[in-house]
């Protein structure tokens, strides 16, 4: 019962920045608990990944390696982490609230007979009992709950940007290679194929133009695309986004979705067209530098969080705006 553990993740084959944030969070907790912080790299070949985090003040890096851990098959990843936790009995286990964390953490917590809190934005140690106080937005961000759970390990997933990324330090972590006890029979879900799709990376946009429930026809998205095209001549990288109803209608793929279960972004300019401003959407775009709302409902929430508002029907306004920009 001696360490804070965290799962290392990669993005496009390289160390994910989210892991550096976790290391910062984990280090702070470890300090309060008077223990060390260690990390786990999972995969079929983890040498390079382990090296890439060896100079961030981690006590140990566990290389959890097995041929079955190639790619990400949740069944065996959960099995491998369960195996490791039963060996080293960590006090705290941190995951990023990422694709992998969301899938693995609940199942692992169940197998270790402990309760998990997901999507935390703050963590601290209760000096009374050494348990984590987990801060988590609920009701889409309308309230912030702080809660505790009794079991061990104390296990959480942590939202992106909850901690600043850690900086490299002097010294090098011990790297320990381990081969978990896994077998084919653990795989209950077979992966048939992975199909890459062209994914819109909204976090790389300077300007996001987003449509919502107020967009009445699928064809009207063309107006937003025309606006994006017109703006891209002067305002950098302009991308098309949306709120949830547009994805529910299957008009745009989910990589365009901004909000709690889509992208959380902070572009220079966010233009919300026909978006009323449900809180689940607002949490995804509220950090934008400038927010412009175009809506016919003067009472809608989007106007309350916007810097500029245009009370107009987009059908008349957007083409007029495109024309002005092209003049």
């Amino acid at each position: 019962m001696s360490e804070v553990l965290l799962l290392v993740e990669t993005k496009e084959g390289l160390l994910d920045k989210k892991t550096l944030e976790l290391i910062r969070g984990g280090s702070e907790l470890a300090k309060d608990l008077g223990v060390g912080v260690s990390a786990i790299a999972v995969g079929s070949e983890t040498g390079a990944l382990a090296e890439s985090i060896a100079s961030y003040g981690l006590k140990k890096i566990y290389r959890l390696e097995h041929p079955l851990l190639k790619g990400f098959m949740p069944d065996v990843w959960v099995g491998a982490l369960e195996w490791l936790c039963k060996q080293i009995v960590p006090k705290v286990f941190l995951f990023s609230h990422s694709f992998i964390g969301k899938e693995v953490a609940p199942r692992l917590a169940f197998r270790l007979n402990t309760d998990l809190t997901t999507d935390c934005i703050g963590l601290k140690v209760d000096p009374q009992d050494g348990l984590l106080i987990r801060t988590k937005p609920i009701y889409g961000g309308n309230a912030i709950a702080a809660l505790k759970c009794a079991g061990l390990p104390q296990i959480v997933t942590v939202r992106k940007n909850a901690f600043e990324p850690v900086e490299p330090v002097q010294g090098r972590s011990d790297i320990i290679q381990m081969v978990p006890d896994l077998n084919e029979a653990m795989i209950k879900v077979q992966s048939l194929k992975t199909v890459p799709e062209q994914i819109v990376e909204l976090d790389k946009a300077n300007v996001v133009i987003a449509g919502g429930r107020g967009i009445s026809e699928k064809e009207d998205l063309e107006m937003l695309k025309a606006l994006a095209k017109a703006m891209s001549k002067s305002y950098g990288n302009v991308m098309l986004g949306c709120s949830r109803p547009v994805v529910d209608k299957c008009w745009l793929s989910s990589d365009h979705q901004v909000g709690l279960t889509g992208s959380m972004i902070a572009p220079d300019t966010y233009i919300a067209v026909g978006i009323s401003g449900a809180i689940q959407h607002l949490v995804g775009m509220i950090r934008s530098k400038k927010i412009i709302a175009i809506n016919t409902d003067p009472g809608c929430n989007m106007f309350k969080v916007a810097d500029y508002g245009v009370l107009e029907d987009y059908k008349a306004f957007i083409p007029a705006l495109v024309k002005k920009l092209e003049e």
């Binding site: 949740p74 694709f99 969301k102 899938e103 609940p106 199942r107 917590a109 169940f110 197998r111 309760d115 998990l116 997901t118 999507d119 609920i138 009701y139 309308n142 309230a143 912030i144 709950a145 702080a146 809660l147 505790k148 759970c149 879900v189 077979q190 992966s191 048939l192 194929k193 992975t194 199909v195 994914i199 305002y235 949830r244 109803p245 994805v247 529910d248 209608k249 299957c250 989910s254 279960t261 220079d268 300019t269 009323s276 449900a278 809180i279 689940q280 400038k290 412009i292 929430n301 106007f303 309350k304 969080v305 916007a306 810097d307 500029y308 245009v310 029907d313 705006l321 024309k323 002005k324």
Partner: protein, 264 residues
């Protein structure tokens, strides 16, 4: 083709699309008050839609399970109107504010009581606490395959085929039955339920079983409640909105274009 026996888990929550001005926090009582009607959690509606499509193709039966301290059949009868066959309410004061693991345990007890099933569908997460745990843990308890974040669910040759949303696109996966799938909104929204149909259903006498702890669990001690330390209001998000004035859309467009130029 074998008919499918599908269970859909659906949570009743205050409308998550309620304007934020209708939500308040009682710091003393550590409660969130939402001044909005209750609805079925949106991702659970997506799960129901996925179930109905399977039933349309293969035939079968859809049972909806809903659990809470107090669940209203007036809200959940919408699932019947949309195409589910039966509804079971899991209702007990002991079911309030449970940890996800305990919620999954109660659902698992109810599913064992129901008996035979081929497929369990849940939403990827509930629209109130957004924990995203119950489906995954339920599959663990039942010891069945678990697939998360489905954007399409199909049954073929006694297996469930799922297109699962992943960060770079999608992954096609399959598993033997019975299995549990958590459904994401890319599946599509729940079909429209006509108001007249809904009203008719509300009047129709219907047997809706209500199961509580005594029907499901030998020991309430097994359920752990959320331990709330604090409930706080979020930082204020409001900004001072400058409305672009003008008598025509064209005039306003000209002014907004000038704002863009100023912002750079």
């Amino acid at each position: 083709m074998q008919e499918m026996n599908i269970i859909v888990c659906a949570k009743q929550i205050p409308d998550p699309e309620a304007p934020f001005s209708n939500v308040s926090v009682n710091v003393e009582k550590k409660e969130v008050l939402v001044d909005a009607p209750d609805v079925i959690s949106p991702y659970d509606e997506n799960a129901l839609e996925a179930a109905i499509r399977i039933k349309e193709e293969m035939g079968g039966k859809i049972t909806v399970l809903s659990m809470g301290r107090k669940v209203a059949d007036t809200v959940l009868r919408k699932t019947i109107a949309a195409g589910a066959d039966s509804l079971i309410l899991l209702e007990d004061p002991a079911f309030e504010r449970l940890e996800s693991r305990s919620t999954a345990y109660v659902l698992a007890c109810a599913i064992k009581k129901i008996g035979a099933y081929d497929l369990i569908l849940t939403g990827r997460q509930a629209g109130d606490w957004d924990s995203g745990q119950v489906g995954l843990i339920l599959a663990e308890i039942l010891g069945i395959p678990c697939i998360s974040l489905a954007r399409s669910v199909k049954i073929k040759d006694g297996k469930v085929l799922v297109e699962k949303t992943i960060p770079v696109g999608y992954e096609a996966v399959q598993a033997g039955l019975p299995a549990l799938v958590t459904v994401s909104n890319e599946v599509g929204e729940l079909r429209y339920v006509a108001r007249t149909k809904m009203l008719g259903l509300l009047k129709r006498p219907m047997t809706i079983p209500k199961w509580g702890t005594k029907d499901l669990i030998d020991n309430v001690e097994k359920l752990s409640k959320l331990q709330l330390v604090e409930m706080a209001t979020p930082p204020d998000m409001r900004r001072a909105c400058l409305f672009i004035e003008g008598s025509t859309p064209q005039e306003k467009a000209g002014k907004l274009a000038a704002v863009f130029k100023e912002l750079g």
